[in-house]
Symmetry: D3
Subunit: 209 residues, 6 copies
Amino acid sequence: MGIHRFFTSLTDLERIIRCPGRFKFEEHNVAAHSWKVSQYAMFFGTLEEMEGATVDWKSLYEKTINHDFAEVFIGDIKTPVKHASPELKQMISHVEEKMMEKFIIHEIPEEFQEIFFDRMKEGKDSTLEGLLLEFADKLDLFYEAFSELKRGNTDKEFVSMYEEALTKLLKIPLPTCVKYFKNVILADVVSEKTPIDITTLTQDVLSEA
Amino acid sequence: MGIHRFFTSLTDLERIIRCPGRFKFEEHNVAAHSWKVSQYAMFFGTLEEMEGATVDWKSLYEKTINHDFAEVFIGDIKTPVKHASPELKQMISHVEEKMMEKFIIHEIPEEFQEIFFDRMKEGKDSTLEGLLLEFADKLDLFYEAFSELKRGNTDKEFVSMYEEALTKLLKIPLPTCVKYFKNVILADVVSEKTPIDITTLTQDVLSEA
Amino acid sequence: MGIHRFFTSLTDLERIIRCPGRFKFEEHNVAAHSWKVSQYAMFFGTLEEMEGATVDWKSLYEKTINHDFAEVFIGDIKTPVKHASPELKQMISHVEEKMMEKFIIHEIPEEFQEIFFDRMKEGKDSTLEGLLLEFADKLDLFYEAFSELKRGNTDKEFVSMYEEALTKLLKIPLPTCVKYFKNVILADVVSEKTPIDITTLTQDVLSEA
Amino acid sequence: MGIHRFFTSLTDLERIIRCPGRFKFEEHNVAAHSWKVSQYAMFFGTLEEMEGATVDWKSLYEKTINHDFAEVFIGDIKTPVKHASPELKQMISHVEEKMMEKFIIHEIPEEFQEIFFDRMKEGKDSTLEGLLLEFADKLDLFYEAFSELKRGNTDKEFVSMYEEALTKLLKIPLPTCVKYFKNVILADVVSEKTPIDITTLTQDVLSEA
Amino acid sequence: MGIHRFFTSLTDLERIIRCPGRFKFEEHNVAAHSWKVSQYAMFFGTLEEMEGATVDWKSLYEKTINHDFAEVFIGDIKTPVKHASPELKQMISHVEEKMMEKFIIHEIPEEFQEIFFDRMKEGKDSTLEGLLLEFADKLDLFYEAFSELKRGNTDKEFVSMYEEALTKLLKIPLPTCVKYFKNVILADVVSEKTPIDITTLTQDVLSEA
Amino acid sequence: MGIHRFFTSLTDLERIIRCPGRFKFEEHNVAAHSWKVSQYAMFFGTLEEMEGATVDWKSLYEKTINHDFAEVFIGDIKTPVKHASPELKQMISHVEEKMMEKFIIHEIPEEFQEIFFDRMKEGKDSTLEGLLLEFADKLDLFYEAFSELKRGNTDKEFVSMYEEALTKLLKIPLPTCVKYFKNVILADVVSEKTPIDITTLTQDVLSEA
């Protein structure tokens, strides 16, 4: 049914809840997550530009708003599964690609297919925009974990999620972004009142990084 | 943490919603689904027994209450994904097995491990109990689809789900159950008021079976 | 309408929320509760068997999956009401029985009525299976209360519920189960991080038992 | 804890859902229901006054806002239970009274106890205000059923609820109210677009009244 | 469509959530809020009467049950907006009045229009009943903020809401009510277990009042 | 608290529900809406480009992801209010601007303020990108109304919303987009099964345009 079907499929992502199966004080859907990722990317792209980098904004925004579209087909598979085996991770990526391919060929009018193939491919490459996407995506995971900890969620999954997201953020090869995040944002994060000792938890990760 | 951790993991299945991403008038979680499947199995096992079969009730009930426990690890992957490729389906089964294995070895005290391995393995085998599990599981899918159609859900996914569940039910090699389902239950189903023409939809499947 | 109506009534139990009227961070329905009770029973039945007892597994599983079916008729009456007067408690049991009787006679085909009467009768008798049901049912109440306390619910109803469930669990005449629960499971429970001092609360109950 | 505890108990009624166990497109809590009942009573009291009756407004409003307070203790027992036996209905009323009594004696400061006893007693007596409460309470049930039918809920429970509420409304000995309801309000109700044939359903009840 | 349309519009207030946009452990709708306000007013009106005041009960109850009806038209505008500028606050009041006027003229039968104009006008005037409405309305805000703090909501918006509601309550020129609230109710409030230090927070407001 | 506070405020938009107070089968939040608008804009911008227009993609994406950020301050005011009076509409815009200004000055570090002022200003200007934002924003309203009609929501508000969104879409001076929407997308829309006669409803609007 063409573009109409593409448009109505967008709403499916409002029904896919992130981190299925875990207790959360607040749930987030994949559509809203994608929007927040594009907002973070807007900020960090600006920061990079202010420090002299050249940002391909069209590419950056398209990467962020499209980066989880494939979850329309496959849902939000539990993170531990994704990391259970490298083969599975690769297999899942492959299936997502195949289902995306099938969707584009069946639903998208021919004149738009090339553009859709280009936009919907995996965005986390080694370009500046790919790295900014990676940074923004991990930052949202960091914030999701932080706000659960702040509300008093003591399930160890969210402590691990906070540690892992933080660890990965610090390793992304975007020195300007990492520095700003570490010096400015993280300082504000640890100054918030939380039932858990967020300062120590954060310091532990920083000292291991 | 042993059995305590096994017990608390049960609650995770209350948070895994079936058919993620689709619009539904009513959502169902995997824990409640497992309970309904054990109820259907209780009835159809009784029917088989009345017709002379010998039912291993312990096995039947354990198969039904345990059959979706692996979703604790992997979530409810969207059905189309499961059917996207035979390799993926096999790969997913393999990962589920591996994660279950890891869970049992890490969390279950040694003296119970053998029993857990036995209980948590794939239940849909060719025994009478395995077939009854298959029948009861498909019946719940049938009822989930039917109740969406009855409430006026016109999304074609639920029409397909109804047709597929019905088609598969009719093919399960349990003649007594299939006959009762077809002659008694289905007669009541199609007599319900529905916005969609459920009688014709059902007849179409029956005539193709 | 026969078995079809029985099957559709199962879904009603997914809509009956336990502990109505109280603030809870997480709600549980009666269908999912029934499934968890059957899981606990599976474990403690196994434990009894390993210690030499003979378990009638068919009976045990049927008791657990059916034990709250009568809430289809009457809902989850607030616990304080049940304990408000012995006459009321008896009266309510009587009404549940009468409504069950009426349901079976009107909805269940004649050939299955005897089996349904047998399965749907009150399961908490003095048999090993009746005691295991009682144990598993209280254990779920215990876990419901514990997880609210763990999430920071300071309403005194949940502190009382925790104390009462624990007190009753310890008194059930199943020494093997009680011992395992006390020595193994409870040790893990009190080692979890909770805003309330769960160790002292638990010790107070243990010392009074 | 006195009046503070009375005030915090009010919130419990926001968590008690009417008609537990049934599928509904929209849920209503007892607190919001009580407010709507007071609004209906305001209108029909005005109507009675315009036709020459003398309304004790203080009594009318107190009856409406307090009429379901006892559900704090007992929850919303499923309607069929209430009607299952006259003894049970009486027994339940008796228990509600006893629990209310206990609550007032334990929680309400002595100087207010008499007033609370007076206000919290069963309000549906034969005074004009008692009848207006009965009328307003049934009208809300009528509207709850109507709006489910309008949204396409075809479960027969809501058809019965609509018929019963309508039948009872027409029999309440408040000729002015009944006439206005029948001639003015019902005319608007049946003119709404509904998937079910609401006009015929309504006419059937009217012709039997 | 007359009174029928007025009655169905009442349900809109069940769908308007108070304090939109903020994280809350528990949400409250405007209909339930209106009911709680009428309950508080019943108590404090009684208190005033016991101390010798003359309460116009009809007026008091009508003020409380009608005081937020205008949110049917305008929704629950975020509080900071209302206070952003005195002109805006006045402009919003003006619009609410105009929409109410339009609604009454179009929907309410002529014979009831005068009564509706009278009842739906702004109720917070300088009469005893107007002050009691103001007191009861702020008390509900106080309780909403308190119960979030009690559940562990550390967002500073709820700390501010608690402080502001308390500050305003203490300033309302109803000495009997303020005294009872301060000496009796507040003593019970601060004796509850809360993750935040509610006693100090409360003392700080009291010492500034 | 700087950028950290900006980032956490994004989550507020996940809690602001569109069309407050109306009955909906499915709710949508402002964050997810913003994402869908950016997706529609991506498509229609591509279409314009294919027909020879020059699209400033950076501007287009920033307009779409930021266009409802001001609802953080003011919430989703009910649409009828916005249209109640031109003065109010202007006043509300003015207040939004003032609150945004205050937010930027207080929360955003000085070096980013100019960029934020530029990005957060009203985006619906007469540029191609401003018109594409207007088109995409109305299209989401159109789809929200359509999906309610499709699910059987017969409330006249959604019929009006469908008609108005369609009427406005057809008038936006983007002939390429309007033509594609009318000839391709609308053809698919009216071919869907809906309880309401969507074809006639749509034709009526088209014939008046």
